[in-house]
Subunit: 108 residues, 4 copies
Amino acid sequence: MTEHLDVAKLQRRLAEFAAARDWQPYHTPKNLVAALSVEASELVEIFQWLTPEESARVMDDPDTAHRVTDEIADVLAYLLQLCEVLGVDPLAALAAKIDRNERRFPAP
Amino acid sequence: MTEHLDVAKLQRRLAEFAAARDWQPYHTPKNLVAALSVEASELVEIFQWLTPEESARVMDDPDTAHRVTDEIADVLAYLLQLCEVLGVDPLAALAAKIDRNERRFPAP
Amino acid sequence: MTEHLDVAKLQRRLAEFAAARDWQPYHTPKNLVAALSVEASELVEIFQWLTPEESARVMDDPDTAHRVTDEIADVLAYLLQLCEVLGVDPLAALAAKIDRNERRFPAP
Amino acid sequence: MTEHLDVAKLQRRLAEFAAARDWQPYHTPKNLVAALSVEASELVEIFQWLTPEESARVMDDPDTAHRVTDEIADVLAYLLQLCEVLGVDPLAALAAKIDRNERRFPAP
């Protein structure tokens, strides 16, 4: 993970991209969570008729691999934009959640 | 964003958490995208009856703020676990997507 | 299918239920589609970690069967309320769609 | 609502359509709920950037009206196919749910 690819820098690029197109009025938290769920469903669509085994080989086909990677990017894009407008640090939120889960569900 | 919170480290903690509970057989790409979409919908549920204006103030209430942050963590957790099983680098995927979008949709 | 259970009658009961609680201002098409997608995801949640075979036996357990039936009712409730506010006849929409699909995708 | 458009008849047409294309092996409950949630999200996609007021006028544009009606048909198609494979009567499920809700949440 290079410095170039850190989360804060991606958030800044996404914010500049949206600002240059005057999209901020559309980027209410309510609209961004809807867009996030739509992108997550576009990922589901790729997998919906596959067996578990087929789903495990989905990256073997270059076209499908590209499509999957692209939808993952879209999900992450809306998640980071949502975090930006809400003032949530997504990595800190996840670290805190893993801490909580480790206490609540001790490994057997 | 401290070193402690980098994406690769969070992915490692999630993988260890799942392995310690023998959850890997459940973590097919197909199941993980379903779980991701379910968590995204739990975010939508918080916002579904709010006006755009109310949605912009959602972090003012500490309980709702906690719930939102928790669901964001869940979405990110499944997204990172999906990337892990597929061998996708989520930050590189998003950087490449922003590059493409900047070429395809030049700012006015 | 008895007369008592026809679609128009269920729509009327749902509309009266909402009106008695002054919920109409919340029932914009945008909010109703969000609620519909949230209920669909609650169905997905029941199945997300199941194998295809386990998913086929989901009605064998009375508690799960009740939960599935209840979520189906919720999906249908929001779908019918959406149709009501939009003036769409859902059965006619589906019949027209099947007609189109039969022309577009002739059986082999 | 004419006899021609009753729910049981639509379910029969959907079942025949799927059988003629040998799709039954794909129509596990798990896959059908995924497809249902994907179609619900395609409805959300139409509304995601609209204001509440714009969403209330969505049927004024014939192209959008057609798209909305088509997605409603898709949601209903997967819901009815799910009910078919699970042996659930969707109208009876909804009637029972409304009965329960009327008891649990008496009108003010």
